[in-house]
């Protein structure tokens, strides 16, 4: 080990033991625990779904009552959206983006650590509330007046609304970090036209988070104040408006779906490119498609409200806007298929999940086009048809790519390969189980079954499809068990992974598996769109150009210009710190206290202010400096 590596090791090292665990600001460690936590919430929310499916397996079943059922479906939706889907996508990005752009850490490492703690505390809080029978009961959409204090007395909805606040804060932190990382920390030479598509997708996603989250923050804050101090934002009897909630919620809620789906598009591009062993076809249109989806996503929230009696002409505008989303999506589907057709594809497990994505997402996308049509939506809105649709786009469109990406990136994250045979078993179980569960729901919706019912009467023709769906959900559960087993076994004694097991083109694979705490021994320099390939046939490149001059004795990275990635200065990133954790704890106290008493906001602000002040106290940022010459 050379002296400079030794130096790097020391300046980027975490403190040992438990202290190191709670103070770390390493994007890889934070991302790994973020991903693991999100997977735990995924399993918990999935268990709730299994209970609900069992309840619906036959008509007039009395396994659980309406109150439990309502809490369960509210919790299932909220946890899947706010505690699994968005966080895990961001967590994967926290791991992958700094490596892909060739830098040593994420832009604001302490904020990153803080974001994880806030997310963890918010998630734990809502699950504890659920176990104590104060879980949410008005659905993940929390429509007023059902969620107002008149119709949802007690603290159930307050916990839900406060959980939104937690996840908002966490998501916004990560979004800001990713934007800053991508815009200012790219390796020299990685111009805008050389950014990997996954990084593009995360950049667009992060901007969407920044623009979408304030809307729901406003919505949930209005709800909290309506409930806590009697403001009347949503109360029609006092001059408020229940539709205001729906507008604010869906102005966030629809982009939210793309916030989940957009990173998945980036994952697909990465996997397709690597396993087809050729550059992705039509890179520039692909980027434009991502950006276009990001913009369009903000112009179509009203398609969730076609049944609320808005003027027909306005509705038609949103029909057209919603359908337009199919243009960039269709374009991307074409480009991926063209890439596979003109490449030399290998069908390893990640690629298998991509194939599953095609089969499911295209179907979900087409039912989405149907839902954009006002008259058709008036029939199928709020029925099981919609349940089928959004599970096809969210599971087919996001969870399949995510699982593919897990098999794809797991070797880099852990240094071990994920079991291939078990992976194939898992894929087929999940794919078949998914279709058996959700395909019959299309039919159920057309046959008149509304969503969010805890039971249904016999004689409406709904018994058989419901039973089939329930059986399918058990298959999916088995598949998730296989995945968990596979992860556990591979972490313990998986086959060791080489640096670049798949022959991938991007900088993520230009370091060891797992990467050292400083990511790259020397800062890589990029001369093309595929730094690790010498030609368009995907032949590997051995000699990656590197740049010297960044100090090894402190946590220095290069900052570069946003468009051309010309290095402009060196910048020292902060050291590990306990204060993000204390700040997160103080903020958690404030948030939870305010559920019970408005004075919690006032008194709780004091410890929060203290911890944040200490965290942000100006200091010389050269603590890791070993010797200043």
């Amino acid at each position: 080990m050379s002296a400079r590596v030794d130096l790097l090791e020391r300046s980027w090292a975490d403190r040992p033991g438990f202290i190191g665990w709670v103070t770390t600001v390493d994007h890889k460690r934070v991302a790994r625990r973020y991903i693991a936590t999100a997977l735990v919430f995924f399993v918990l929310a999935g268990v709730l779904a299994l209970v609900m499916r069992t309840q619906l397996g036959m008509s007039e079943n009395r396994l659980i009552g309406p109150d439990q059922y309502n809490q369960m479906f509210s919790m299932h939706g909220s946890a899947m959206m706010f505690l699994f889907a968005v966080p895990i996508m961001e967590a994967v990005a926290v791991y992958v983006v700094p490596l892909m752009v060739g830098t040593r850490n994420i832009s604001f490492p302490r904020l990153n650590a803080f974001s994880y703690w806030i997310y963890l505390f918010g998630g734990v809080m809502i699950f504890i509330a659920f176990v104590l029978d104060i879980g949410p009961e008005a659905g993940w959409t929390g429509y007023v007046p059902l969620s107002s204090s008149d119709f949802s007395p007690g603290k159930r909805t307050d916990f839900w609304a406060q959980m939104i606040t937690f996840t908002e804060v966490a998501a916004l932190c990560v979004a800001v970090e990713i934007v800053a990382t991508v815009m200012t920390m790219r390796a020299p030479g990685m111009t805008l036209s050389r950014i990997p598509l996954f990084v593009w997708s995360m950049l667009v996603t992060s901007f969407m988070v920044i623009f979408a989250m304030p809307a729901v923050m406003l919505a949930s804050s209005f709800l909290i104040t309506d409930r806590l101090v009697g403001t009347q934002f949503y109360n029609a009897a006092e001059g408020g408006d229940p539709l205001l909630w729906q507008h604010l919620f869906w102005f966030f809620g629809h982009p939210e779906v793309y916030i989940i789906f957009m990173p998945a598009l980036g994952m697909i591009s990465s996997i397709v490119e690597t396993f087809s062993r050729r550059p992705i076809f039509a890179y520039t249109p692909m980027v434009m498609a991502l950006v276009a989806t990001g913009f369009l996503a903000f112009g179509l929230w009203v398609h969730h409200m076609f049944a609320t009696g808005l003027p027909p002409m306005g509705n038609s505008f949103y029909t057209a806007a919603s359908m337009m989303i199919a243009v960039p999506s269709g374009l991307q589907i074409f480009c991926w298929i063209a890439t596979i057709a003109t490449g030399r594809p290998r069908f390893a497990v990640p690629m298998l999940f991509v194939m599953g994505f095609f089969a499911l997402f295209v179907l979900g996308g087409l039912t989405g086009v149907m839902l954009a049509s006002v008259p058709l939506d008036l029939q199928v809105h709020d029925t099981y048809f919609v349940v089928a649709h959004f599970h096809y786009v969210l599971i087919g469109g996001a969870v399949f790519p995510l699982m593919g990406a897990l098999y794809f990136w797991f070797p880099k994250m852990t240094g071990r390969m994920l079991g291939e045979t078990l992976g194939r078993w898992q894929f087929w179980l999940f794919f078949i189980g998914f279709n058996v569960t959700f395909f019959p729901m299309h039919l159920l919706g057309l046959m008149g079954m509304p969503r969010r019912v805890y039971t249904y009467q016999a004689g409406l023709g709904w018994d058989l499809p419901n039973l089939v769906a329930t059986l399918g959900s058990y298959l999916m559960a088995i598949s998730v068990l296989v995945l968990v087993f596979n992860l556990w076994r591979s972490v313990r004694r998986g086959e060791p992974a080489p640096d670049d097991p798949w022959g991938a083109p991007d900088l993520l694979w230009a370091t060891t598996s797992p990467p050292p705490s400083y990511n790259f021994e020397r800062m890589p320099v990029v001369t093309g769109r595929h730094p690790l390939w010498v030609n368009a046939d995907g032949d590997p490149r051995i000699d990656l150009p590197v740049l010297d001059g960044v100090r090894d004795d402190r946590r220095e990275v290069l900052l570069s210009t946003p468009v051309d990635a010309i290095p402009v200065c060196r910048w020292a990133l902060p050291d590990p710190s306990i204060w993000p954790l204390w700040s997160a704890l103080a903020l958690t106290v404030l948030f939870v206290w305010s559920i019970f008493d408005q004075w919690g906001v006032v008194w709780g602000a004091i410890p929060a202010a203290i911890t944040f002040t200490i965290w942000f106290w100006p200091k010389r940022s050269d603590v890791s400096l070993r010797s200043d010459e």
């Binding site: 029609a236 539709l243 049944a307 086009v369 008036l378 199928v380 279709n435 057309l446 008149g448």
Partner: protein, 330 residues
């Protein structure tokens, strides 16, 4: 796709059941037929695109590859042209979809009504008022809607508490009932029969048991039903029913329910003036039978847990008497 093929026989069976009383696949009114037309067009067009896309994917996977060809270039003119053509095709299809949607949507909102009904949704039942310019020809019922065939009804929609959604799939699309707003749907039924509607917007504990019984008949039958509904409640005849009426008016019942022509004038629960002429109880939770009515009275929280009707402690005799009285309210 393997799983789909395995499920085909199942779907064949299901399709037979699609002509149900609550199915959008068996339209029985102008409005639902207009929507069904859009559905037919879209389902065929979208299925074709789906199969085409998967076909293209299959071709991409299994095509023969000439080993030495260097196709791995990013700018292939043929492919670029194909991409352009594909985007044009997608845009064209979407334009067509938008056009047929717009035209169908216009058909849902038009028409001169022959009949006006106001429906107010409450947790968890429907109050149905037949409106008329003459106050004497207005009446209120609950959880049932009767419509004459070939006549256009305008149904005004309001909410008494939270947001609900009016939905009778065989007759029309859904429309929300929102506090502070007045919405409306038009229905022109073209086929006699019984249809079932159900609340489609999650509205709390008993969202699952909030059904509406809809009967479409010819005009003469409808008129005779109207004139029967306009009459005040029939007087009890048997001794037990007389005692039931007495009990009804002196215990908790009358404070929530109205029986026209009697002292009972509560407005919280459904109007019971012609309860026994309806086909269901408790917004479709139970069929209208003597046994079920008596079960309902004894413990309303069992068949419909969480609903707002309290269990009133009554001796079996008293309960029986009230059931006798109610069964006489034809």
């Amino acid at each position: 796709m393997k799983p789909m093929r395995a499920l085909l026989p199942v779907f064949a069976m299901l399709l037979a059941a699609c002509g149900g009383v609550q199915s959008s696949l068996a339209p029985a009114a102008d409005q639902s037929k207009a929507i069904d037309h859009v559905w037919q067009v879209m389902v065929w067009a979208c299925s074709t695109i789906y199969l085409f896309t998967l076909g293209a994917l299959a071709w991409a996977i299994w095509r023969r590859r000439a080993i030495a060809t260097r196709e791995g270039v990013s700018r292939d003119p043929m492919l670029s042209r194909a991409l352009f053509a594909w985007v044009v095709l997608v845009v064209g299809l979407l334009t067509w979809f938008v056009a047929i949607s717009f035209l169908a949507d216009r058909r849902l909102h038009g028409g001169t009504p022959d009949l006006e009904v106001r429906i107010t949704a409450k947790q968890w039942w429907w109050q149905v008022e037949y409106l008329s310019p003459e106050p004497a020809r207005q009446f209120i019922t609950a959880n049932e809607l009767r419509l004459p065939r070939d006549r256009t009804a305008r149904i005004e929609l309001r909410s008494g508490d939270v947001i609900h959604s009016f939905w009778v799939p065989s007759l029309s699309g859904k429309e929300d009932l929102i506090p502070g707003y007045t919405n409306a749907v038009f229905i022109t039924p073209r086929r006699d029969g019984s249809f079932r509607g159900q609340c489609a917007e999650f509205c709390g504990l008993q969202h699952a048991h909030m059904a509406l019984d809809v009967q479409v008949t010819d005009e003469a039958t409808f008129r005779s039903w109207v004139s029967q509904q306009l009459r005040p409640a029939s007087s009890p005849v048997t001794a037990s029913a007389l005692r039931g009426a007495e009990l009804f008016n002196t215990t908790a019942c009358a404070s929530c329910h109205t029986v026209r022509g009697t002292p009972a004038g509560g407005r919280v629960g459904p109007d019971l003036t012609h309860l026994a002429s309806r086909r269901t109880l408790a917004a479709g939770a139970l069929p209208m039978r003597r046994d079920d009515l008596s079960k309902w009275l004894d413990d309303p929280q069992h068949p419909k847990p969480g609903n707002l009707m309290p269990a009133v402690p009554l001796s079996p005799d008293d309960s029986n008497a009230i059931v006798d009285y109610l069964m006489g309210l034809k």
